[in-house]
Symmetry: C2
Subunit: 334 residues, 2 copies
């Protein structure tokens, strides 16, 4: 007897793997007709992926580690919390580790692997580097949230993220269209294929599309905390005081920059426009209200848990999910 996979079922039912997974997980967000069609196909195929894969892959003691890199980052905290909300119906137990943005998440992962017998990982706000490749060789379910593993070329890990390059481009475009030319970008190291490096490439795309080129001397590597951004901005504006607009790669960084500008007597947005990234709740209530690229936390979280559950419980291969981000224009950009 042929053993059908979740992919076979999806193909036969003419739906996506995600939809089959939703049916398997008894999610409410599948319409009745689709659900019944998928169930008919599963019945016809004697589909046992669910129970069987579970028998093979899952014991009562499944333990998944959520590793959040950037413990001072409200966006990543909110995302981690939303992921936890979505794990409530899961059979596995989830433990959460918050680490510093400069810490090594893969060392943390290896430690958890040995100490706690973790058999699945969710990386939140991670980078992909050599160690990620080593870890992925262990063949454990592994989902990278906010990093496109596909772009990083990691074969055995799944990913859920926005299109960071397109969104970086959009942020810069907003400022360019308003006539700004002396634009500073507050990000981090831009040599990798992580989300921040992709946003930087997007900025360059926007300048190129406008027939301009980005002035690299206005790129600032900052820590992603209020204090880090504040200090970086004070130092930067002491030298590049003619800058008229800032794209900050997180709302937290944007708010640190705003506070620094206010302390050196520059008004936002009258003197300097500022656009952030992430779409945090704080940004909506900040003075001035922050323009930003809003990441869909709820969808990032639900997709992350769905992808992980599929790998852990149903033996589905890793997949890569891109979700939509949204530009929010508010007071901080003129």
């Amino acid at each position: 007897m042929k053993i059908y996979t979740i992919k076979d079922i999806a193909q036969k039912a003419g739906v996506s793997v995600t939809t089959v997974s939703r049916v398997l997980n008894h999610r409410p967000d599948v319409n009745r007709e689709t659900r019944e069609k998928v169930e008919r196909v599963m019945a016809a195929c004697h589909f046992v992926g669910n129970a069987n894969a579970r028998g093979l892959k899952q014991t009562e003691g499944d333990l998944v580690a959520i590793i959040v890199r950037g413990h001072q980052n409200p966006f990543l905290n909110a995302l981690a919390e939303s992921i936890l909300q979505h794990t409530k119906d899961c059979r596995a137990t989830f433990l959460t580790e918050f680490i510093d943005e400069k810490a090594d998440e893969f060392q943390t992962a290896l430690r958890l692997l040995h100490e706690r017998r973790v058999n699945g990982f969710i990386f939140v706000g991670s980078r992909i580097d050599q160690r990620a490749h080593e870890l992925s060789g262990l063949d454990l379910p592994m989902v990278f949230t906010t990093v496109s593993a596909q772009q990083a070329g990691l074969p055995s890990a799944a990913s859920v993220a926005i299109d960071d390059r397109a969104m970086g481009r959009l942020a810069a475009q907003v400022l360019l269209e308003r006539g700004h030319r002396k634009i500073a970008v507050f990000g981090a190291s831009r040599t990798g294929s992580d989300s921040l490096s992709l946003r930087y490439l997007g900025v360059r795309d926007a300048f190129t599309a406008a027939g301009l080129s980005f002035d690299e001397s206005r790129y600032v590597e900052t820590r992603f905390s209020l204090r880090g951004a504040y200090d970086s901005a004070r130092a930067f504006f002491a030298v590049k005081g003619d800058t008229t607009a800032v794209f900050a790669m997180s709302d937290t960084v944007a708010m640190g920059v705003c506070r620094a500008l206010s302390d050196i007597g520059r008004r936002v947005p009258e003197d300097v426009s500022v656009i952030g990234f992430d779409g945090t709740e704080m940004g909506k209530y900040y003075t001035p209200r922050l323009s930003t690229i809003e990441q869909p936390i709820e969808e990032l979280a639900s997709q992350t848990v769905l992808v992980l559950t599929d790998m852990l419980e149903h033996g589905v291969p890793p997949r890569h999910v891109t979700v939509e981000a949204t530009l929010r224009l508010r007071e901080s950009v003129l």
Copy 2:
């Protein structure tokens, strides 16, 4: 042979139970002399509390649930995260549940007890009510952080908190001393013995000490989110527009109030002074910088883990720890 407890050792060595616990847990924060004295006493008593209690109380599978009530509360999030940082050297596994401020943390606790076989709890931002009493009847290690269980009269649970009543009093006193009389207080239900009710009693203490009485019509029950506080403040100031000062029982609430004031054309602090509570990082970088009562997150967290570890691993009875909060006067109060 008499079996000595950790309390006996503390008494014989002339140190606190906390110090003995620190020695047992190989913490660095005990000076060498004290450590050696405690170790001598333990050796003389053939103290086996550590290994024995562990044999009785702890298996490899110890699982502690951290339940955080108030998932939108940055202070509680930062506290939960700091607690997780401090659990890194613990033998137990920790899982974290974030629930809404209106949700029932004890229902969550009971569910975890059944589903995950949790054998210890840390409640962050909890209230003590009848259900807490039921839960405490189970005789599992249980620590309430930011709530004084002692004041709530819960017999078998431990607690780590600031003196909320004294700090509520101090916040109100700051405003009274600056001549404010029409003072609004943004809190929550004030009928219990939770931290917010205690802060309210402190406010009344301050008014009484000044020979005044608090105008109850200026007490506002609000949700502890930016949006909740913003909406409450808009509604409140439409009616009580002569209010000249606000004590908000969290920095998040204070920032929602500030934004609402700005939107109705009132300046902070020129027209209305605002003092918050918690001492969040955001408050330091907000415009205006927030005056606040700063809770010592690091100390709350380390004490919480220490108290829990003592109960779980060393069979120490629950104890109640009070830590010091600090008034921070910044731009938002005139």
